[in-house]
Symmetry: none
């Protein structure tokens, strides 16, 4: 089990190849040999860096989750009014979906796995809670500043996340709608309209 800091390059080399192959064929239909070939390494080398296929899948899940969280925090960190920050998050989400377009099927398989494996579900759930808290805080600030009317911040956060996730889902299934980007943002504006103090 190599541990050189430098050869963790191997790990991402493998993960990159794995993501590509998993996206193309799915977790189950992708053989370790496919990943080996795509990574330019040997089958045996894969097991030098990951304990096995399941471990590799789990590592990918962790990584993708980290990406999303990082992006979300970055969006919230930006300044501006509560409305502006929520819009920024929405925009980030839409952009993120487009960025990992090819890997989207993996996300869906990820969810499918999570729905069944408590351990996987737990980490996903944790990051959801964290994300929800981030959003709720923004909403809370909006209410405090008189920008939003008085509503349950948790419910609003839940709604936004559900909306974003649902958009990602539809995007993966429905034939690429040109209106996709517009619809995504329009959806959030509708929400914000409902939220605005009158």
């Amino acid at each position: 089990v190599p541990s050189d800091e430098l050869s963790e390059e191997r790990q991402s080399q493998i993960m990159e190849a794995a993501i590509a192959e998993f996206a193309r064929r799915g977790f189950h239909a992708t053989r370790m040999e496919d990943i080996a070939r795509a990574s330019g390494l040997s089958k045996g080398a894969l097991y030098l860096y990951y304990r096995g296929k399941d471990t590799l899948i789990a590592a990918i899940m962790r990584t993708m989750l980290a990406w999303e969280l990082r992006a979300a925090r970055a969006a919230v960190a930006g300044g501006g009014s509560a409305t502006e920050r929520l819009l920024a998050i929405a925009a980030m989400f839409v952009a993120e979906i487009e960025r990992i377009a090819g890997a989207m099927p993996i996300l869906l398989e990820f969810y499918a796995v999570a729905a069944r494996q408590p351990a996987v579900r737990a980490s996903l759930s944790a990051s959801y809670v964290e994300f929800r808290e981030v959003l709720a805080e923004v909403v809370r600030q909006g209410i405090a500043s008189g920008e939003f009317r008085d509503t349950d911040p948790g419910a609003v956060a839940f709604t936004i996340i559900a909306l974003m996730e649902g958009q990602g889902l539809l995007w993966a299934i429905v034939p690429q709608d040109d209106d996709w980007r517009a619809h995504g943002m329009a959806a959030v504006r509708l929400l914000l309209d409902g939220l605005r103090a009158r």
Copy 2:
């Protein structure tokens, strides 16, 4: 190759067992023998009524899709104002999610499959389009009656569907939140608030 009207009872007998097993273990981890045992039939009998595992999965997908569509149409068919009818749809959706609670993991695997198989994606996509049209029509009526302000009906319909799907997704992943039902309806009310003419 039995084809008696009466023995289509076998088909649902098998499908019922298959849904339970698939939900518990997933498409791949479920062996035909598991389904046989759960259905009280023999392995061979399964193949008397379904050409194979894939065919069985496809049949389940079709059936679940049909359930959803039927429920949606029923909800819209109810009378009342546009707002009332959209709320009815939302309530139906929440109820439906609870009804098929155990089968939810199947839906996620269903999406995962759809994201990769054009044929599956096509039917799912078609039912999405149909559903969107149903919702858009309600929105259009709401606008005509002065109940809603003037917005893009298609965008609103897209938003509602995304919201519903996202809720289902979160529901499957996040530890059963007691606020689930409340959140789900609150989310739609937020939307309707944003939609209401002022």
Copy 3:
């Protein structure tokens, strides 16, 4: 287990269908259901008249063997000189091969089975011995009458049979040669020339 004399018509009904199917697909690739369909009976009925697939195959073998033997005896029974009678046998053989053309692949599978199963080989062997004796007797008469020179009748009989069987084999494999019939008879004439007293 029906035993009416009349319903042994069923047996030939089944055997006829079985021969056709076996010839088309081979012993192994033919399913009992194929035979049932071809015979116009139900799968269960087959087992009313034959204990099983193997029994049916054995019955077919017995029947085909009986055909050949009957034809051989008929040919020898005809009058004429030894040469004429041997030619008659050869002609009969050629005709027989053409008659059962469609069933020829069955004969080859028959041999393949016989080469491995002692019981099957035994009956085939017995009929070979009998046939050889019939031929040897004709040769013996030819020698006694001064028509043939003095040779080992058994060796000649063996030769003729080998020649006939070999012709059948080649006929089944080699693209239908138009010269087939001519070659077959020419071969025997060559033999008879070698046999003739000088």
Copy 4:
């Protein structure tokens, strides 16, 4: 997918085991696991060197065909009169049959397969034509040298081949006759007697 020159040793290792098992039990009754055990390799290794059972069978057929052709050419290549060379071929054939004694049932199954599969039949047919041409040429030389009387060389070649094949067939079926070797050669001498110029 090993391809080293060295590890084609594996291929013959497997083929050798397969021939033994196929001869004992037949193509169909032999399971891949039987071959694996007999070869001292694992089931998986078999598929490393042959795409599957059918491929393995086809390879064996090709190999056995090549053996026969090589032996035939070698026999013809020997010098001597036409009569001597034809006798050499016959002797070679008899020897060859004895050499592959254990594999004879495979040859019969081979023929059974060939009678049904055009592709297999084609290669067998091609080698038959080639062999026939080799023999016909010897006969032609014998006629030219005045050793044989004037006959159709093709018919003679056909006759010899049929005789040889028929002998092999009988040998596989009939209880091992001690006279076998004598009969085989006697049969050819009869033919040559018929052929000799007078």
